[in-house]
């Protein structure tokens, strides 16, 4: 799929304002402003910073995963299984500690489960060279199915001492939001300023050329899948802490939202382009849009419709912008 990237020729340098402003992140930022204004008109109860923060904690776990997913997409792969991974890791974690394993050990088991899932995806997509999009549709069903076998329809309680990550405040901001912001800064720096970051872009733009340039594309991609697996597991356990219990249907359908965050933030579906900043902004955009509609008591169906339209508009716009600009 990566070889369909449009070929770019040399062109005169663009003016600075053009480079800074004509990019997908600008679109995301504009949509955030439109979303804020629109939601405030829809409901007088919307515009409240602490409410928006609290609402963000409901999707903070998914947003953290979306940041890593962005890097996977930039490298030219995709993973649709992290939502199912979150559910399975959380179920494994809750199940193990329910069976009497000490809490810290149970957390490690949960993280290892996530790592194993990442490894399965990496094995199928990189080692066996199967398209990651189909592989991860398979693992998405598989992981969710395993969670269903482990937990059945029951919800497994987690101990009181583990509950309440969302109630911890850091300077008035819920802890999950703080973690999300810190993750965004760290990953943004890795992707934007380090050698590995540059290599991720190169692999996504043209894997063949990257190989010739001596980049070990396979190792980097495997690393990204493993990282995504572990981060999904951590996110799954954060959700368990927020909810106080775990069921197999945790963040059911969350893969759509995660891909949506990456796309809305301007990540190019064929790889090679995108930024952490974009996904960071898109995560806020989604919260603003869905919270605005919920607090206005709109039919949830309208939200589904809007999410679908947003995804399609986002990819059309991103393709359009990338077709006219150069990195």
């Amino acid at each position: 799929m990566t070889d369909t990237t449009p070929t770019r020729e040399m062109a005169p340098a663009r003016p600075t304002w053009h480079v800074v402003l004509v990019r997908p992140e600008t679109m995301t930022l504009l949509l955030i402003i439109i979303g804020l204004v629109g939601a405030s008109i829809l409901s007088p109860f919307f515009l409240d910073a602490s409410y928006i923060m609290r609402s963000f904690t409901l999707t903070a776990e998914m947003s953290i995963v979306a940041l890593v997913l962005t890097m996977v997409i930039i490298s030219g792969e995709i993973d649709l299984s992290p939502a199912a991974n979150m559910a399975l890791s959380a179920c494994v974690f809750a199940w193990v500690q329910d069976a009497g394993v000490a809490l810290p050990l149970a957390v490690i088991v949960g993280l290892l489960a996530g790592l194993a899932m990442g490894a399965l995806n990496a094995f199928m997509s990189i080692r066996m060279q199967l398209p990651s999009i189909i592989v991860t549709i398979g693992t998405l069903i598989f992981f969710r199915g395993l969670a269903q076998i482990i937990a059945g329809d029951r919800s497994i309680r987690v101990p009181e001492s583990f509950v309440g990550i969302n109630a911890v405040m850091v300077f008035g901001v819920p802890l999950p939001v703080v973690i999300f912001v810190l993750c965004a800064i760290v990953l943004g720096l890795v992707l934007g300023t380090t050698v590995i970051g540059r290599q991720i872009y190169q692999i996504g733009t043209n894997q063949q050329a990257a190989l010739h340039a001596g980049i070990n594309a396979k190792r980097i991609k495997v690393g990204l899948f493993l990282l995504l697996g572990v981060v999904s597991a951590a996110a799954g356990m954060m959700a368990a802490s927020r909810l106080g219990s775990v069921r197999y249907d945790l963040v059911l359908g969350g893969e759509l939202q995660m891909v949506l965050m990456a796309m809305l933030g301007g990540t190019y579906i064929f790889g090679g382009r995108g930024t952490i900043l974009g996904t960071f902004l898109a995560a806020w955009l989604l919260v603003i849009v869905s919270t605005g509609m919920t607090v206005a008591n709109l039919l949830p169906a309208i939200q589904l419709t809007v999410l679908g339209i947003l995804l399609i508009v986002a990819i059309i716009a991103t393709n359009f912008i990338y077709a006219r600009t150069q990195r």
Binding site: M124, I133, F142, A301, L304, G308, I316, N319
Partner: protein, 328 residues
């Protein structure tokens, strides 16, 4: 080319052997499984998946994928259900062309997004999966179409027919399989889909109108999902905005991948797909008979897809090695 065909034939024979072995194994433990009654159960479980699988096969052969089929099924079923509820005096058969046309329109919309904007079908249909589901809620005002609103003639189609009392929906499903076989093997369109899928870059050079073929493939996928939609109303007697068609895409993709359709385009047969559907039907009917809880079903589907992918890959490698041609 003969060698490739042989390998594919082996693939179909392989699924057939798997079905037979599976049935014998279950039958040894539960003899009831090897009765005509149980064949009827299996066949009644599969018509919708069969129709969806035929559409998905053509889409995959053309090197695309359509994740929105479940939502297209739901939307078309809802349109027909609303029609039956609001205009009970209309001739019930009108529902068929309406469902098929509704699905086709949705499918063409997918196709247009894919062709005009050159977008990957997987992301487009992930978006329309959500969009069409949302629209289903909106047109229905989030209310279910109840059993009493569905014409009894339509419901009767899932119970019987003049042909040996085999329910109509089973006949229709096999009719669609036959139609797909004819399209795939004996029409120019079929040849073009296969050519497009096996080598998209070379297709225009061979005089294939890529846009047109892609549009037709997505339109067919939508139309067949629409047909599955009205048959859903017939089979289950209701249309629900959130349940109807939900998760359909996963069952269908599982069946198609088991049936040996390659996700890399260009490869896939109707026979293999039919067998893949039947294998899934056997598994679904056998699980409760063996007392295995339904919660294991998803894990089984998921692992079956992964295993089928690995088999697909090893077959491809062997095929490539024996005709010493580079991997497609």
């Amino acid at each position: 080319m003969n060698l490739v065909r042989n390998i594919l034939f082996r693939r179909e024979a392989g699924i057939l052997v798997m079905i037979v072995l599976f049935c014998i194994a279950v039958g040894l433990y539960k003899p009831q499984f090897l009765t005509g009654q149980s064949l009827r159960i299996i066949l009644l479980l599969t018509p919708l998946i069969m129709i969806g699988a035929m559409a998905q096969m053509l889409v995959l052969v053309g090197r695309h994928v359509d994740l929105s089929i479940g939502s297209m099924l739901g939307f078309s079923a809802m349109v027909v259900g609303l029609m039956y509820r609001e205009f009970p005096d209309l001739w019930w058969v009108i529902g068929f062309p309406i469902a098929i046309a509704t699905g086709a329109v949705l499918g063409i919309f997918n196709g247009l997004l894919v062709t005009i904007f050159k977008l990957p079908s997987i992301i487009v249909t992930l978006g329309t999966l959500s969009l069409y589901r949302g629209l289903t809620f909106i047109i229905s005002d989030a209310r279910q179409i109840n059993r009493s609103d569905i014409p009894s003639e339509l419901k009767l189609m899932s119970r019987t027919s003049p042909v040996f009392d085999i329910p109509w929906i089973i006949l229709i499903a096999f009719g669609i399989a036959l139609m797909t076989y004819v399209i795939a093997r004996h029409t120019q369109l079929g040849r073009q889909i296969y050519a497009l899928g096996s080598n998209p870059e070379a297709a225009p050079l061979r005089g294939i109108d890529v846009t047109k073929v892609t549009l037709v493939v997505f339109a067919l996928s939508g139309a067949l999902s629409g047909l599955a939609g009205i048959l859903y109303a017939s089979r289950w007697g209701f249309v629900n905005p959130s349940n109807t068609g939900a998760g359909f895409e996963f069952q269908v993709i599982a069946a198609v991948v088991i049936g040996g359709v390659s996700i890399n385009g260009g490869v896939g047969t109707v026979m293999g797909t039919v067998l893949g559907v039947l294998l899934l039907g056997c598994v679904a009917a056998a699980l409760p008979l063996l007392g295995i809880p339904g919660s294991t079903q998803n894990a089984i589907y998921g692992s079956v897809i992964l295993i089928a992918l690995l088999i697909d890959r090893s077959v491809r490698q062997r095929g490539a090695a024996s005709i010493s041609r580079g991997g497609a």
